[in-house]
C-alpha cells in the first residue's frame, strides 16, 4: 500500500479542536466534517487540498478530545496519510480504527516542507521526499495493527476473527 501527494505542514500540538471545531460536532457526516477540516488553524486547507495529499506535523499531533470526527474529517478531505514526529494516543488509535494511515517519523517531520511531493510505502515504512530527493525510515506498524488496517478498520477485523 502506498500514498503519494503534496504536503501540508504544521507544527507541534495540532489539537483535535483545530482539526474539527466542536461547533461542527452536531453532525457525524464525513462530508460535512471534511468541509471544516483544519478550519481554525488553516482556513485555506480545505480550498487547496487534493485527493492523496499528505499532512506532515511535528510533536503530539491530534492531542485533546477523543472525537473520532477528527481523523474522519481528515480522511474525508482526501488526505492519504499523516506523518508526525509523535501522535497523541487517542488520535493514534482512532486513525488505525477507521483506516486512516499514519506514520511516526521525527526525521521525516524535520526533512519535509510545505508543498513538497512525498511518497510513503506502508509495507516498508519508507518515506520518500520526491521534491528534495531524500528518504526516511518511518516506524512500520506492529503486525497486530497491520491486520486491523488490512481489514480496513477494527470492526471488520473483529468480524473476521
Amino acid at each position: 500500500m502506498n500514498a503519494k501527494g503534496r504536503v501540508f505542514k504544521y507544527g507541534d500540538n495540532v489539537d483535535t479542536d483545530v482539526i474539527i471545531p466542536a461547533r461542527y460536532l452536531n453532525t457525524s457526516d464525513p462530508g460535512e466534517l471534511a468541509a471544516h477540516c483544519m478550519e481554525d488553524i488553516d482556513r485555506d486547507f480545505i480550498k487547496q487540498v487534493n485527493k492523496g495529499d499528505i499532512i506532515v506535523a511535528e510533536k503530539n499531533f491530534g492531542c485533546g478530545s477523543s472525537r473520532e470526527h477528527a481523523p474522519i474529517a481528515i480522511k474525508a478531505a482526501g488526505v492519504s496519510c499523516v506523518i508526525a514526529e509523535t501522535f497523541a494516543r487517542i488520535f493514534y488509535r482512532n486513525a488505525i480504527n477507521i483506516g486512516l494511515p499514519i506514520i511516526e517519523c521525527p526525521e521525516a517531520s524535520r526533512g519535509i516542507q510545505a508543498g513538497d511531493e512525498v511518497e510513503v510505502d506502508f509495507d516498508s515504512g519508507v518515506i520518500t521526499n520526491v521534491t528534495r530527493g531524500t528518504s526516511f525510515q518511518g516506524q512500520a506498524f506492529p503486525e497486530f495493527m497491520q491486520k486491523i488496517i488490512a481489514s480496513e478498520g477494527l470492526i471488520n477485523y473483529i468480524n473476521n476473527k
Binding site: 460536532l25 503530539n60 478530545s65 474522519i72 509523535t86 477494527l154
Partner: protein, 422 residues
C-alpha cells in the same frame, strides 16, 4: 521486575499473571461509556458487526451531556439516536435530561466506577476514574462500538511516571493547581502514552474532588491514564456510592518508572494556564508582575471542576461580593445531585446574589458548544480543562485555565486574581 498499579489492573483484566510495558493485550471491560457526540458515531459502527446486540446491558453507560439540553436540531437528532439505541438494547445506565450530569462527575456518583475496574469511554476525560483506583482511559467511537459489542478492548501496556506528593496545600490551593503545576512542569506531551501514578503521604491532604480533578487532566499531559492508590477516604467514597465489588491494587515495591517527581504541595501557589496550551502555566505571583489581564467571562463548572467542593470554594469567594461590572459569570453544577446539594447549602443563592448565573448540568461552554461562547478577542477565566485556539468560541478569543477560587476572585476583580487579593 515488579508491576505498576496500572499494569496490575491490566494483567488481571487480561487474565495474565504478569504484563510489561509495551506488551499488547486484550482486556475484559467493566464499563463502556459514551456521550451524545461520540455515541452516534459508535452506534452507526455497531450496525456493521455480524454479531448483533451489546455484550452486557448493565456495563454500558450512555450520558448525553455535551449539547444537552439539545442546543439545536442536529444535536437533538444525535440525542434521539442515542435514546433509541438505549431503549432498543435495554441499556440500564442511560441518563435522560433530569437525571443526567456531566459524565465524569455522574458515573462515580452513581457508583458505576470502582477500584480495580477497567473502563473505556469515548471521551478523553474518561481518565477521571483513576481517582478511585480504576484503570480508565479515553478512546474513540470505533473502540466504543467494539467495546459495546464484545466487552473487550486491546491495549498497549503503558509504562509509568510516578508523582510523589508530599505536604499539605495552603488555603485556596486545590487539585486544579496541583495538576496545572504538573502539566506546566512536564508539558502537554510529557506523559504521552504513559500512566501518571500519584503516590505519597500528601494524598491524604487531598479531597476526593481534588483527586478527580487531578486524574481528569492526565490527558492534558498526553497520559493514557492517571491513577491514585485507594486509601481510607477513597474506599469510603466507593462504599457510600456503590454496591459493586471492588479490588484494591497496589504497585509492587520494585515497580519500574520512567521518571519520578516529588512535589511538595505546601509550596504550590494558585496557578493559571495561559492561552493556548495547558502547559503555559504561571503562578499568581508571576501574574502579579505582569500587566493585568482583563477578562470578559468566567466559567465555573465542567468535568474538571463542577463538583461540590468546587462550588463551595467559589461560593466562599463570592459571598457578600459582586462580580465586576460587565462580567459574565456562568456557574454550572456538574450533576443534578450536586445542583440539589448546592441549593440546600445556599450556594446557588450566593452565586445569583453575586450576579452570576447558574445553569443546568452541561459540558456546553467548555468545548465551545453553547452556553457561553466567546466573541472575537474576548477573554475567559475558566475552570475547564483546555485552552486551545478557538476552543470556547472565536479563534482570536482566549481561555485562561484556573481553579474555582481563582475563577471566582477574577470574576469579582475583572482581572486575573487570587482570593487573597480581594
Amino acid at each position: 521486575m515488579g508491576m505498576t498499579m496500572t499494569q496490575k489492573i491490566l494483567a488481571a483484566a487480561a487474565g495474565l499473571d504478569k504484563v510489561e510495558a509495551g506488551q499488547l493485550i486484550e482486556a475484559n471491560l467493566d464499563l463502556v461509556l459514551g456521550n451524545d457526540i461520540t455515541s452516534p458515531v459508535a452506534i452507526k459502527e455497531m450496525d456493521k458487526f455480524t454479531a448483533k446486540g451489546v455484550f452486557d446491558k448493565d456495563k454500558i453507560a450512555l450520558v448525553p451531556d455535551h449539547f444537552v439540553p439539545n442546543k439545536d436540531i442536529k444535536s437533538a437528532e444525535h440525542c434521539k439516536c442515542v435514546r433509541e439505541f438505549a431503549r432498543k438494547n435495554e441499556i440500564t445506565n442511560y441518563f435522560e435530561v433530569g437525571e443526567m450530569g456531566i459524565e465524569h462527575a455522574l458515573l462515580p456518583e452513581k457508583g458505576l466506577t470502582v477500584a480495580g475496574d477497567v473502563i473505556i469511554g469515548a471521551d478523553s476525560h474518561t481518565c477521571t476514574y483513576g481517582a478511585l483506583g480504576a484503570f480508565s482511559t479515553g478512546v474513540g467511537s470505533t473502540d466504543m462500538a467494539a467495546g459495546m459489542a464484545t466487552g473487550k478492548a486491546w491495549f498497549k501496556v503503558p509504562s509509568a511516571i510516578r508523582f510523589i506528593l508530599t505536604g499539605k496545600p495552603a488555603e485556596w490551593v486545590s487539585g486544579k493547581d496541583v495538576i496545572l503545576h504538573i502539566i506546566g512542569m512536564i508539558g502537554v506531551d510529557g506523559a504521552l502514552y504513559k500512566s501518571m501514578e500519584f503516590v505519597g503521604d500528601g494524598i491524604a491532604n487531598l479531597t476526593m474532588d481534588d483527586r478527580f480533578t487531578i486524574a481528569n487532566m492526565a490527558i492534558e499531559a498526553g497520559g493514557k491514564n492517571g491513577i491514585f492508590p485507594v486509601d481510607a477516604l477513597a474506599e469510603k467514597y466507593i462504599k457510600e456510592h456503590s454496591d459493586k465489588p471492588y479490588i484494591i491494587y497496589q504497585a509492587d515495591e520494585d515497580a519500574v518508572y520512567d521518571a519520578s517527581y516529588t512535589i511538595d504541595l505546601s509550596q504550590l501557589r494558585p496557578t493559571v494556564a495561559f492561552p493556548h496550551l495547558p502547559e503555559n502555566t504561571h503562578t499568581i505571583d508571576e501574574i502579579r508582575q505582569m500587566e493585568a489581564v482583563a477578562i470578559d467571562q468566567v466559567v465555573i463548572g465542567s468535568c474538571t471542576n463542577g463538583r461540590l467542593d468546587d462550588l463551595r470554594i467559589a461560593a466562599k469567594v463570592l459571598k457578600d461580593r459582586h462580580v465586576a461590572k460587565g462580567m459574565r459569570c456562568i456557574v454550572i453544577p456538574a450533576t443534578q445531585a450536586i445542583y440539589m446539594q448546592a441549593m440546600e447549602e445556599g450556594l446557588l443563592k450566593t452565586f445569583i446574589q453575586a450576579g452570576a448565573i447558574v445553569s443546568t448540568p452541561t459540558c456546553g461552554p467548555c468545548l465551545g458548544g453553547y452556553m457561553g461562547i466567546l466573541a472575537e478577542g474576548e477573554r475567559c477565566v475558566s475552570t475547564t480543562n483546555r485552552n486551545f485556539v478557538g476552543r470556547m468560541g472565536h479563534v482570536s478569543s482566549e481561555i485562561y485555565l484556573a481553579s474555582p477560587a481563582v475563577a471566582a476572585a477574577s470574576a469579582v476583580k475583572g482581572v486575573i486574581s487570587a482570593p487573597e487579593e480581594l
